[in-house]
Symmetry: C2
Subunit: 178 residues, 2 copies
DNA sequence: GCCCGCATGTAACTGGTTACATGATTGT
DNA sequence: ACAATCATGTAACCAGTTACATGCGGGC
């Protein structure tokens, strides 16, 4: 049994274009990565159960032993249903911030290490977001989806920029600390 | 067996002041809530094992059947150890953004609902952050910890403000969509 | 011929939450 | 007296990851 969250991610991705389970995972990691994640251990069982329910169909791809999964008409109805339901958001567990919160026991150098790491990560995110943004702009096939994709991307960019600005300020604020 | 993450959260909180397991959970929820969470099912076993290892001690509190947990000297050493180790950050699963990403299947009104909800949440966060900020400022007992607490709080505030600004822009951007 | 990337799948495990059982204390 | 809150603990469950087993296809 798979969760409705995973079903939504899978059906949603397949509504864009048919792909293999493997490609599905890559797409989720690379494109939805900044707010979502799925592992093989969820994707394959989800595909199996979605197939049994008639929401996706497996067609033989260009090479044997590989399948392309396509979303069916009832799968699209299911997708419209799922996207309407609120999803449980997982309570956050941001390790770096926990460590920073107890930074008094870590010392200034250690705190700077954490802050710098977060900054580097945020800057890297900004770079990948810019790449994704260009991909979306270049992709005329999915012009209908583009506004929504750009909207979620925009939040990622704003968060990342906020993190970079925070990092600089944090370094200054903790610089005064002994 | 408890995780080192939980041990860090518990030892860190007890390094500020002794409290009961119940109070520990409330403190984590109310103060660390925007980047961390622990449930009773983790806290109590963690306290038991930390006690067995000599990192915390249980002293009878004002009322029987209730214990105050205090951190020991070796517990403080353990805390300094733990805060130095990198913690695994849990991959994000932000349900609202997943739904918004597939917003084409949801329609404009549904998307606005999600965006507005996120905005309301962010505004509420800003209010609680402001309250926490005042608490920290008023708390002269823990002036040594204050800079670190304010730093993590600052990131929360920046993220929340970024979300509010994003929400307004998102509404405008998707307003054009049919 | 061999390694690497694509591809599918599952079993075991871990991390974490929820629900429940139990009871003391406080306030009304 | 009763309800609400404080308090401790555990067992069952669920979600999700990791590791493993297996094999095909394409490039070097």
């Amino acid at each position: 049994m798979s969760t409705t969250s995973t079903d939504l991610a899978v059906l949603g991705a397949l509504s864009v274009e048919p792909m293999s389970g493997y490609a599905l995972r890559e797409a989720i990691r690379d494109v939805l990565g900044h707010f979502w994640s799925e592992s093989f251990g969820q994707i394959y069982p989800a595909l199996t159960s979605l197939e049994a329910e008639g929401f996706v169909e497996r067609v033989e791809g260009s090479r044997p032993a590989a399948s392309l999964f396509t979303i069916t008409a009832s799968g699209r109805r299911r997708l419209r249903e799922l996207v309407r339901e609120p999803l449980p958001s997982r309570p956050p567990r941001y390790g770096a911030l926990l460590r920073l919160y107890f930074g008094r026991h870590l010392g200034q150098a250690g705190c700077f290490g954490i802050i710098d790491e977060m900054r580097v990560e945020a800057v890297a995110s900004l770079a990948t977001y810019a790449a994704i943004r260009e991909e979306i702009a270049a992709d005329t096939q999915h012009a209908n989806d583009a506004p929504f994709w750009l909207t979620t991307l925009d939040l990622g960019e704003r968060s990342a920029r906020a993190t970079v600005e925070w990092a600089d300020e944090a370094r200054r604020a903790l610089g005064a600390t002994k």
